[in-house]
């Protein structure tokens, strides 16, 4: 589509923050005054459907996990609106549910930069001529947003909705279902949300961090956004880093090196045996010479998902850790879809057996068989994500698998028979 040239619709009357310190540039607990002082007011001119071209030129992708091109989602919502017989106003939802236990960046963003998220929501709403607007977040995120909304006059149409603390509550159709009907369970994906979502209306669900980036792109343009990151992964992203040194929230350039991310979080990479990237639906990798990017060859890149990096210290068995995670994921299945409801507990049992003493070499084959069986067979990607995690664990911890099957575990010497 249109490259951004001098024709750019935004009024760029000030410089955006330089470097990767963008989303929190207004400081901790930023109120409206600090927010406006740092970023300037949201431009009143040019923030409309023309924004779609600017977002496309920026290369912004969703920061909630799937890394879908944001402009496409917005454009699909606009198309659905003009195609609909009654031309019903689209619904726009800022998704801050963040059910992933290893992720805390959305909570931090809502707590410290709520005005940026609200700006982003208003920006997206203007791009699609939206009607009803929602911010959906767990209890931890709501008070700051409530205070922020009370400070401003341009956001009266925004409603806050509390999300339950479940793993799956942030899945886009679960978000729509939760707000419209109560239970935050995924629904069948026969129809796109952009065509028929909240109460049958065209619905746009965007992650809160995605919206915060859009609020800055609306102000400073796509070229500014691309001054950090790479062509395949422009801009910055928030990363929740966890591990032996505790939790650290970072904002890093797109396409960042995994080793650099760990060092920035003060993690001594020599004491780390593997890293889980992308969260519980993500991928274990070792060693550290990967780059975080939603696209690129799997041999050198690992998808950041919702920006989760979890470092596993040398002293811990990766198979045991993964077995615990898969047990959790099996429990968090919304138990609507057979293959997920039965398949995930079956996978958890087999992996548990492998992690805690089973020595039958068929266990590995059985995990592969079950993974193939559940993949692609749910209303949401919960089975697929779980299968991906298990597959990556078998690969990254192949030496441990061999040791376990031989009756030893390098991490738990003397404990196993």
């Amino acid at each position: 589509m249109t490259p951004v040239t001098a024709e750019m619709p935004m009024v760029v009357d000030r410089q955006g923050p330089s470097g990767t310190h963008r989303l929190f540039a207004a400081g901790n607990d930023a109120g409206l005054a600090e927010h406006v002082q740092t970023f300037g007011a949201l431009p009143s001119h040019g923030v409309d459907a023309r924004l779609i071209d600017v977002v496309e030129a920026s290369g912004l992708t969703g920061r909630g996990g799937a890394a879908f091109a944001s402009w496409r989602k917005i454009a699909a919502t606009v198309d659905a609106r003009s195609g609909a017989p009654l031309a019903r106003k689209p619904v726009v939802i800022a998704n801050g549910a963040e059910g992933e236990p290893l992720s805390f960046k959305d909570k931090a963003l809502l707590a410290h930069a709520p005005h940026l998220v609200i700006d982003g929501l208003l920006t997206a709403a203007r791009a699609v001529s939206g009607g009803q607007l929602f911010i959906y977040a767990t209890d931890a995120g709501l008070p700051a947003v409530e205070r922020a909304l009370a400070q401003r006059h341009d956001s009266r149409s925004v409603r806050l909705v509390a999300a339950p603390e479940t793993f799956i509550s942030g899945e886009a159709s679960a978000v729509v279902n939760g707000i419209a009907n109560g239970p935050a369970l995924p629904t069948d994906h026969r129809r796109r949300l952009s065509e028929s979502g909240f109460k049958g209306r065209p619905t746009l669900v965007l992650n809160v961090e995605t919206l915060a980036h859009m609020a800055l792109i609306a102000r400073y343009g796509s070229a500014w956004f691309r001054t950090e990151g790479s062509d395949r992964d422009p801009g910055t992203r928030l990363v929740s880093v966890s591990g032996p040194a505790g939790d650290r929230l970072l904002e890093v350039a797109g396409d960042a090196g995994l080793g650099d991310v760990l060092s920035s979080a003060d993690i001594d990479t020599s004491s780390i045996q593997a890293v889980l990237v992308g969260g519980y639906h993500g991928r274990w990798v070792r060693p550290m010479d990967y780059r975080l990017s939603p696209t690129g060859p799997a041999s050198h890149t690992v998808r950041p998902g919702a920006g989760v990096v979890h470092a596993l210290p040398d002293s811990v068995c990766g198979l045991e850790t993964t077995a615990q995670i898969v047990g959790y994921l099996a429990n968090e299945s919304a138990k609507q879809c057979g293959p997920c409801m039965f398949g995930l507990p079956a996978m958890a049992r087999v992996l548990n057996s492998l992690a805690y003493g089973g020595r039958d070499p068929q266990l590995v084959r059985e995990l592969g068989r079950l993974s193939r069986m559940v993949t692609g067979r749910g209303a949401c990607h919960h089975p697929d994500g779980t299968a991906q995690l298990v597959g990556s664990a078998l690969e990254a911890f192949s030496a441990e698998v061999a040791a376990h099957l031989a009756g030893t575990c390098s991490k738990r010497m003397g404990r196993r028979s």
């Binding site: 879908f68 069948d188 994906h189 026969r190 879809c337 993949t375 749910g378 990607h381």
Partner: protein, 80 residues
């Protein structure tokens, strides 16, 4: 135009009536749920139906006690 048989996993109860009506397209998995014998682009919730099986597929849609099946000419669905 080729059709696809969409399985709504949130409705299906896995008793397997459809797998009996469409043995060329569907197997049963470990728990009785319909398992596409061939996946199109890894998608096993939207099963390609060749014209020869169109009639049987229509019957399955009609007879599924949970109204979990539907036929469409193309598939929608955002990844997320």
């Amino acid at each position: 135009m080729s059709e696809t048989l969409h399985i709504d996993w949130t409705r299906c109860d896995g008793r397997g009536l459809c797998t009996e009506l469409l043995p060329t397209l569907l197997d049963r998995d470990d728990w009785g749920y319909p398992l596409a014998k061939r996946a199109t682009n890894g998608d096993r919730s939207n099963v390609a139906v060749r014209p020869a099986h169109s009639e049987a597929a229509r019957e399955a849609v009609h007879l599924c006690p949970k109204m979990a099946l539907s036929l469409a000419n193309q598939v929608a669905g955002f990844g997320q």
